[in-house]
C-alpha cells in the first residue's frame, strides 16, 4: 500500500485546449502540456461524474490525471471533482452563479466550462444542471488490498510481501466502503505501473488473463479472499520480488474508474511476489578461487582473496561490492555459500584473508586495505573483467566473529578519519553485516555509528556466546550502538561456525535443537540478501522479511520448525519516539515527556541492557538479568516489569505528536526475561494487546498474536548459574496503523491520546516478565 492516503482535490474550472486552473490544494495555476491534453482523449466518460457532458467529463478527467502525473495531487490518487463549484464549498450555489455572471462573455478559462472560448449560456447550463450540493462520486481510492488474514481483529493485515507459491489474500473493508457490501466485484492483479503509467493508461489488464470475481460481504472478516496466483511468476530481474498492483473493479468495466479501489497507484506496487531468498539469483557465477593483491600495506601472509561475480558482468552496469572478512581460525575460502549466493543476485563479492590473530585493530586494517587494493586493481583482477563494473560508491562489508567486529572498527576508523583511502570513503560503505561479532574494543571503537547495520547471531554459539560474565562475547553490544537503520536476525539452534563451511563444532544448547550449518546458511543467505537489497537498491520487496514475525513470513526454503527472531529499527529520521527509555529515566515519564502509568504490573525498572552479574540465574537484585546488550559504558536502556494478573502500562502521547494519521506503523521491541519464574511458568510465545486510545476515549485494540507468534521464549540453554534460558532476545512488534481503524473501528488516528499495553489472560499471556523498549511511531 502506498504510504500516503489519497488526497481529494477539487477543481472549479478548466478550459479545453489552452489551460486549466485549480483551487483547493493547488496554490497556483497549472498549465497543461500538449502531451497531457492528448492523454485526456484516451479517457472514457466514466472517470469523473460531476460534469454534465461527455466533453466536460473528458476535460475534468484530463485535468485530474495531469495533476496526478505532475505530482500535484501526490501522484497516487485520482481526484473527485465538482464542476461549477467555483469557490470550493462543496456546493454549486448562488455564489458560484454570481461568479459566473461576473465573468460573462469573457474568455476567463476558469468559468468557460464547456471550453467554447468564452463564458456563455453553455456554461450557465452546466452550472444550473449541477445545482446543489456536490455529489461527487468516489474517485478510485488508494487503499491496502493485499493482506494476510487473521482469525481475529483486524482480520486483514496489510502486508505487501508474499512468498511465491504461498497464500496471499485480498480484502475490502465494507465498513469503509459500504457501497460495495453485498456486491460482486472484480479483483485485478496487474503488472506494477508507475503513477505516470497509471495516468496514461486506466485499462485493467490482469496478468492471469482474467480478473477474479470477489463477493464483498457485510463484514471485513468475510470479505477476504485468497488471490489466485496460479501461473503468476515471482521475481523481477535482480530483484527477488515482482511488483504487482491490485485493483477492485467495483463496476466491473475493466477500467480504473470512480468507485474502484487500487493498491499500487503510485510508483510502488501493491504487493510483491517473492522468490525463495535462499535460492540462487538469475546470474551464473564465476569464481576466481585465489587472487594475490600483492599490497605492501597488507601482511604478506594475508594477501589472498577469493572473488565471485556474475558471469555475464560484461553486459551489466557497475555492481555494488560485497567484502567478506572472516573470523579467527577461519579461512577466506570458507564463505563460498555467501559469495556465490550474492554474486548470483548480481553483486561482486570479494572474500579476503583476514589478519585476526593479532586482534581487532589488525583485522580492521586488513579489511580497509583489501577493499582499497581490490578497487585499485580492477584492471588486473580476472583479466580486467571487473574494470568499470564495480561501483566503488556502493560497498557492503560482511564480517564474521573477530572479522565482524573488525568491520565495525574499520567503519569507525573511516568515520573518525584515522584511515583514508583514495578509492573509497566512509560514505561509500552503505551497509555492515556482522555475524556473531566479538566486542573486544568496546563503545568508542567498535561502533557502526549511523551506517545501516545487520547482526546475524545464533543462540547456540559456544564461542561468542553472549555470556554474562564478560563483555567480549556479547555481539549485541555492537548492534545496540548502531544509530542508523538496524536489523538483527537471531537464530535458535545455530552455533558460531554454522555460518561458515568448516569451522569447529561449537554448538552449545539443548540436545536436538541444533539446526546445523545448511539451515543456518539458508537463513544467512536470505537475511543478508534482504538487507542489501533493501538498503543498497531500495528494494522494498525484501523488507518485510527483516521485521515480520518469522511465523508470518520466512524465506521459502527455511524450515517451518526453525525459530528466528527479527529485530528492526528504522533510522531516527523515520520515526517518532514515544518511549525509548533513553531519556526521562523515571518509570512514570516517557522519553517524549508523557506520563506513564501502570496497573498491576510489578517490579518496574528502567536500566541499561546489561546483566549486572556473572550469571543468568534470576535474582531480584538483577532486574536486567539476561540482557547482554551493553557495557556499562554503553547508553542503551530498556524498561522491564512482570505481571501475574490483568495489568497494563499506559503511555500518554504528548499533544505535539498525537497525530498518527500520516505514519505507517506503531512499533516496539520486547523480550521475555530469561529464567524469571513467570517466564518459566508460561513457557512459550508471550503475547499481549496493544491499544490506541483517542482523545474522545475511543479505543482500538490488537493482540500481537494476530501477527502470528509472539515474543519468543528464551532459548532453553543452561549454564551460567541455575535455571534454564539463555540471553534475552529482543523482538520487534510492528503494527500497521491502518489496522487500528479496520472493520469500522472509530479511533481517530489524528488524535491519539494514549498507547496502552494490556496484559493478562484476557489480552494474551496470563503472566510474564517483559523487557520493553523503543515504543515509537514509524513513518517509512
Amino acid at each position: 500500500m502506498e504510504a500516503n492516503a489519497p488526497l481529494s482535490v477539487r477543481f472549479v474550472c478548466n478550459i479545453e485546449g489552452s489551460g486549466a486552473y485549480g483551487v483547493g490544494s493547488l496554490s497556483s495555476r497549472t498549465k497543461f502540456s500538449d502531451e497531457l491534453m492528448q492523454m485526456r482523449t484516451r479517457l472514457t466518460d466514466r472517470l469523473m461524474t460531476c460534469g454534465t457532458s461527455r466533453s466536460q467529463v473528458r476535460v475534468l478527467a484530463s485535468l485530474t490525471l495531469a495533476l496526478a502525473a505532475v505530482g500535484a495531487i501526490n501522484g497516487n490518487s485520482l481526484a473527485g471533482v465538482c464542476v461549477g463549484d467555483f469557490d470550493g464549498n462543496s456546493a454549486v450555489d448562488g455564489a458560484d452563479l454570481a461568479a459566473l455572471l461576473d465573468a460573462w462573455s469573457s474568455s476567463n478559462a476558469q468559468f468557460d466550462l464547456d471550453g467554447s472560448g468564452n463564458v456563455n449560456g453553455g456554461d450557465l447550463a452546466i452550472v444550473l444542471n449541477a445545482w446543489g450540493a456536490c455529489s461527487v462520486a468516489a474517485a478510485p481510492v488508494e487503499v491496502a488490498i493485499a493482506c494476510s488474514s487473521s482469525l481475529e481483529f483486524p482480520w486483514a493485515i496489510p502486508f505487501d510481501s508474499f512468498n511465491f507459491g504461498e497464500a496471499a489474500f485480498a480484502s475490502v473493508d465494507p465498513a469503509r466502503f459500504s457501497d460495495l457490501a453485498g456486491r460482486t466485484v472484480d479483483l485485478f492483479v496487474l503488472a506494477n505501473r508507475s503513477s505516470a503509467q497509471w495516468a496514461s493508461n486506466l485499462t485493467l489488464v490482469d496478468v492471469r488473463g482474467a480478473a477474479q470475481p470477489f463477493v464483498v460481504a457485510a463484514t471485513l472478516a468475510s470479505s477476504i479472499t485468497s488471490i489466485n496466483l496460479v501461473g503468476v511468476s515471482a521475481g523481477d530481474g535482480d530483484s527477488p520480488g515482482r511488483g504487482l498492483d491490485l485493483v477492485i473493479d467495483a463496476d466491473r468495466d475493466g477500467t480504473l474508474s470512480a468507485g474502484d479501489l487500487i493498491d499500487g497507484s503510485g510508483d510502488g506496487p501493491g504487493m510483491w511476489l517473492v522468490k525463495d531468498l535462499t535460492a540462487s539469483g538469475p546470474h551464473t557465477v564465476t569464481t576466481l578461487a585465489s587472487y594475490d593483491i600483492n599490497d605492501p600495506d597488507v601482511l604478506d601472509t594475508m594477501e589472498l582473496e577469493r572473488i565471485y561475480y556474475p558471469a555475464d558482468i560484461a553486459s551489466l552496469t557497475s555492481r555494488p561490492l560485497v567484502v567478506i572478512s572472516h573470523g579467527n581460525g577461519h579461512q577466506y575460502t570458507w564463505y563460498d555459500y555467501l559469495g556465490t549466493h550474492l554474486a548470483s543476485w548480481g553483486y561482486v563479492v570479494m572474500s579476503h584473508q583476514n589478519d585476526t590473530v593479532p586482534g581487532i585493530e589488525t583485522s580492521s586494517t586488513t579489511t580497509l586495505e583489501h577493499t582499497e587494493s581490490f578497487l585499485a586493481q580492477l584492471g588486473t583482477i580476472a583479466g580486467g573483467a571487473l574494470l568499470g563494473k564495480v561501483d566503488s560508491t556502493r560497498i557492503i562489508w560482511i564480517g564474521h566473529s573477530r572479522g565482524g567486529e573488525g568491520i565495525a572498527r574499520a567503519y569507525d576508523r573511516l568515520f573518525d578519519g584515522t584511515f583514508t583511502s583514495p578509492n573509497y570513503t566512509k560514505d561509500s560503505v552503505l551497509t555492515l553485516v556482522s555475524i556473531a561479532p566479538t566486542d573486544f574494543l568496546g563503545t568508542a571503537s567498535a561502533n557502526p555509528h549511523a551506517v545501516p547495520f545487520m547482526l546475524l547471531y545464533g543462540s547456540a554459539d559456544g564461542d561468542v556466546c553472549g555470556c554474562p560474565d564478560s563483555e567480549v562475547p556479547d555481539s549485541f553490544n555492537i548492534f545496540e550502538r548502531a544509530e542508523g537503520l538496524r536489523q538483527s536476525t537471531y537464530v535458535h539452534g545455530a552455533d558460531h561456525n554454522d555460518f561458515n563451511c568448516c569451522g569447529f563444532n561449537d554448538f552449545s544448547g539443548p540436545t536436538g535443537t541444533a539446526i546445523a550449518n545448511t539451515e543456518a546458511q539458508r537463513i544467512a543467505k536470505a537475511a543478508s540478501l534482504s538487507m542489501i537489497r533493501r538498503v543498497v537498491e531500495n528494494d522494498r520487496s525484501t523488507e518485510e522479511y527483516l521485521w515480520r514475525q518469522y511465523e508470518s513470513l520466512k524465506p521459502i526454503s527455511v524450515l517451518a520448525t526453525t525459530t528466528v527472531i527479527n529485530e528492526w529499527k528504522p533510522a531516527s529520521a523515520n520515526l517518532a519516539v514515544i518511549d525509548n527509555v533513553q531519556t526521562n529515566t523515571a518509570t512514570n515519564l516517557s522519553s517524549a515527556g508523557g506520563a506513564v502509568s501502570y496497573s498491576a504490573v510489578n517490579a518496574i525498572v528502567e536500566s541499561i541492557h546489561n546483566d549486572n552479574n556473572i550469571t543468568f540465574t534470576w535474582a531480584t537484585t538483577d532486574p536486567m538479568n539476561g540482557a547482554t546488550r551493553g557495557r556499562t559504558t554503553d547508553a542503551t536502556r530498556a524498561l522491564v516489569f512482570d505481571w501475574t494478573a490483568a495489568a497494563f502500562g499506559a503511555w500518554s502521547v504528548p499533544a505535539a505528536m498525537k497525530d498518527f494519521s500520516s505514519s505507517r506503523f506503531l512499533s516496539l521491541r520486547a523480550a521475555q526475561g530469561t529464567r524469571h519464574p513467570n517466564t518459566i511458568a508460561a513457557l512459550g510465545d508471550l503475547t499481549f494487546t496493544v491499544v490506541l486510545l483517542d482523545e474522545l476515549g475511543v479505543e482500538s485494540a490488537i493482540r500481537i498474536s494476530t501477527f502470528k507468534g509472539g515474543i519468543e521464549e528464551p532459548y532453553q540453554r543452561t549454564g551460567y548459574g541455575t535455571g534454564t534460558g539463555w540471553q534475552n532476545a529482543m523482538e520487534t512488534v510492528r503494527i500497521p496503523l491502518a489496522s487500528f481503524t479496520a472493520d469500522g473501528r472509530a479511533v481517530d488516528l489524528s488524535r491519539i491520546a494514549t498507547v496502552l499495553l494490556r496484559f493478562g489472560a484476557a489480552d494474551g499471556s496470563s503472566q510474564g516478565r517483559l523487557v520493553v523498549d523503543d515504543l515509537q511511531v514509524e513513518h517509512d
Binding site: 593479532p358 586482534g359 589488525t362 566473529s401 559456544g462 567480549v472
Partner: protein, 247 residues
Amino acid sequence: MKNTVISAVSTSVLTSVLTSVALVSVAAASAVPPNSTTNPATTPSTPSGEVAPPSKAPPQVQGMPSVPATPAMVTEVLEAIPFELANSYVHNMRKDVVTVTRGHVLVIRAPKAFLIPRQLADSVLLVGAQTAERCNVGYESGVLVVVVPQTSEVGSDGVTRVADPLRSRIYFASPELPERVDAAWIAAEAAKADAAKLPATCAVNARALNGARTFDDRDALGLLIADLIARYAPDELERAEALRAVD
C-alpha cells in the same frame, strides 16, 4: 543455476576432520559453560533474592571447551629452523611491532586444549620474551608451526646475546589479543611462569635443530612454512595451499 569455478581449492579434508572432532559432551543441567575468559571454570556465586529454579532442564550439549589454565608449557619442540630474510617484514603479534629479518620457524607439539580456534582471547604463545606467530591452528594434529622473530637477551653474566629459542621457556601465557601485548605484559607473564615454577626451557626433540636457511622475503619463507604444515598438520592442507598460492 550453475557456478563456474576457475580453480577451486578443496576443503573436504578439513571439513571432514573438523566435523569429526569429538568434543561434544552432555553436561549437567546446572553446569557452567566453560568458555568464559574472565572466570574460567568458575561456578558463580548465588545472588541474594534468588528464586528457586525449575527442576527440569533439557539435556545439553556443550561444544566449546574452556581456555586451559595458564601459564603452561608446550609439550615439545619438534623442529627449529633459523632463517634470515633479504627483505624484512613486520611482526604484528605485539603492540610494539618489530621488523623482522632473522628468527626461527619452530614446530611445536602442544596440548590440544590450547589449540582450539576461538574468537575470544586465546592464550598468547611466548618464546622467551617474544610472541610467536601461529601459522596454523593445530587442533587436530596437536602441532603448531610458528615464527619467532629474533630477540636479544641479557645473560646472567650481563652480556647481551641473541636469544636461542631452544634455550628459552616456550609457554602459553594469559589469554589476550597479541596486538595489545607489550614488553611489560610479557615480563609480568614471565613472572607468573616463574611463580608457577615452569621450567626454564622445554623439551627439544633430538633432531630438532636444523641449519639456517635464507629467503628472499616472507612470501618465500611461507613456502617453508607450508611444507611444515603439510607434513605435521596434514588436516590443514588448505592453509598450506594458501601459503603456496602467493605470487
